[in-house]
């Protein structure tokens, strides 16, 4: 099943998609270009909120809410704490990015990457429509995690525990150098 351009704009859901995707992309762009470090992190909030909204559109509410809770709730706070503790340069004069000699190759690399992958995606899927779907049942997802995927789940728990202990060990103020 394929969709033509005019059919694309006739579908109401696609206008909703554009209303989410364009601010997400703009915020993503400003995250990596903004000259104000706090604003860059707050643009990341908008961008991650946009991805959460896309997950709701795709019928994955559990993943969407996890993004809101873990990313927007916890990770952003960590970033803001990191900015405050390291006394990052604030204000319009702050230099947060490299100069043109680094920016030009970086822009070239990411543009080429975007172009190649977009071409490959269009070549592989062209304008294939997503078949109608029901939102994923969170109960079903929970049963799958604790049944079929329980060992990866436990491994992730250990990784989080190791990260927690490692974070405490690294950031302790009164760390004595070993004898």
């Amino acid at each position: 099943m394929t969709v033509s351009i005019s059919e694309f704009f006739r579908e109401a859901a696609n206008w909703g998609f554009l209303a989410i995707a364009l601010p997400t992309l703009y915020a993503g762009w400003r995250t990596v270009t903004s000259n104000n470090i706090v604003r860059a992190v707050l643009y990341l909030v908008v961008s991650l909120g946009g991805t959460a909204a896309l997950f709701f559109m795709l019928g994955a509410p559990f993943v969407g809410w996890t993004v809101v809770l873990v990313y927007i709730g916890a990770v952003i706070i960590l970033f803001l704490i990191g900015i405050m503790i390291t006394r990052a340069p604030l204000g319009v004069e702050a230099v947060l990015s490299h100069d043109r000699s680094v920016k030009a190759p970086a822009a070239l690399l990411s543009t080429v990457m975007f172009g190649v992958v977009t071409w490959a995606l269009l070549d592989a899927f062209s304008n294939e429509a997503i078949a109608p779907f029901e939102p994923t049942d969170t109960t079903e997802l929970g049963f799958l995690i604790f049944d079929r995927f329980v060992i990866p789940f436990e491994v992730v728990s250990f990784v989080l525990l190791a990260a927690l202990i490692g974070g405490i060990a690294l950031a302790r103020m009164d760390a004595e150098p070993p004898e």
Binding site: G28, L58, Y71, L96, K103
Partner: protein, 101 residues
């Protein structure tokens, strides 16, 4: 809805993140760009999960694991940046040239 429209948003965010990782000077902002790339990967995962109508929902479960690992990565990353700042009084990745010959 087509599948490509979601995947293109994903690759665009990934390219922005790649650009940010290379151009940013401040170590915290490099981590921010990495988060942007991981969010882009999650969009891909969930899109393919819905497109393939996977009975095991492996795309969504894998994206949940990615979110958990990204949180761990940020925790450790910020702790390392903190240590570097404490030792060098700067969180600028350019000034970390101790291992340069």
């Amino acid at each position: 809805m087509t599948i490509v429209q979601f995947l293109i948003v994903g690759i665009a965010l990934f390219s922005f993140g790649l650009y940010g990782v290379i151009t940013r000077k401040n170590a915290v902002l490099v981590l921010v760009s990495v988060e942007l790339m991981l969010a882009a990967v999650n969009i891909n995962m969930v899109t393919f999960d819905v497109y393939l109508q996977d009975a095991l929902h492996q795309g969504q479960i894998f994206s949940l694991f990615i979110i958990a690992l990204a949180a761990a990565e940020v925790g450790i990353g910020i702790a390392i940046v903190l240590m570097i700042y404490r030792n060098r009084q700067s969180a600028d990745v350019d000034e970390l040239n101790l291992m340069k010959g």
